[in-house]
Amino acid sequence: MKILIVDDSMTSRMLFKVYMPKDGQHELFEAAVLPDALEKMREVQPELVILDYNMPEHNGVEMAQAMLGAGFKTKFVLLTANTQRTVVDAALAAGFIQVVEKPVNAAKIAALLAQVA
């Protein structure tokens, strides 16, 4: 599965690279800002896009809306340290299939991939 992680935090992106199962079944791509994310979407057509919520220019929900608006059809997962009900509700209303609490670890990533597969 092709997965795009969009997060302005390089530490957070590194966590995904480190903890992603090394089983050859997943290919991870990364972007830090919306224009790069859209370019990667066009390039690799990911089946899953994981978006951080708290980013400087656009939050993760706004980014997903921009991607949907640009015609991309994919599954979205929100990544956030802020699991307030309002944030979770906004994500689910925008079509996110899941909200994952930061920081991620191997177990959280494995559970997410099992659910998405």
Binding site: S9, M10, T11, S12, M14, V18, N54, P56, K102, P103
Partner: protein, 134 residues
């Protein structure tokens, strides 16, 4: 596992330096700060808080969490029309100055010296608890 953590800490250190520069740029653009600038500071501190938590640096985690909360608190005070007095701004600047003193050794030096930040964090917490910005 130690190698993994070492790699993560290295990336976090790089992230810290870049974000610290952005924090300094925001503050150097002139005081008092606007709601937008305080939102930007909150975003930077909050991301650093998340990174510190991910790489198991509890002293930094506490520091950045409190700075993020304080930036959001000052933003809310401004938004609600409260005047923010000089000592309240000084607490914010003192936190940023503390980070700058750690220089290239930040974040690890801050982790080692986390007791140095306790007084400042305590003052900030008291200010928030009292609802005191001016």
């Amino acid at each position: 596992m130690k190698n993994v953590l070492d790699s993560l800490v290295k990336v976090f250190c790089e992230d810290c330096q870049q974000r610290m520069q952005r924090i300094v740029d925001i503050v150097q653009s002139g005081m008092p700060l606007s709601c937008t600038q305080l939102d930007q500071l909150h975003q930077e501190f909050d991301t650093l808080f998340g990174g510190a938590r991910a790489v198991h640096l509890p002293g930094m985690e506490l520091f950045f969490r409190n700075m993020a909360i304080y930036a959001r608190y000052l933003r809310n005070c401004l938004r609600d029309g409260q005047t923010i007095d000089q000592p309240a701004w000084q607490d914010l600047l003192a936190g940023i100055a503390m980070l700058r003193r750690c220089g290239d050794e930040m974040p690890l030096r801050l982790e080692i010296c986390s007791s140095d930040s306790a007084t400042l964090l305590s003052a900030i917490e008291n200010r928030i608890n009292k609802g005191d910005a001016g």
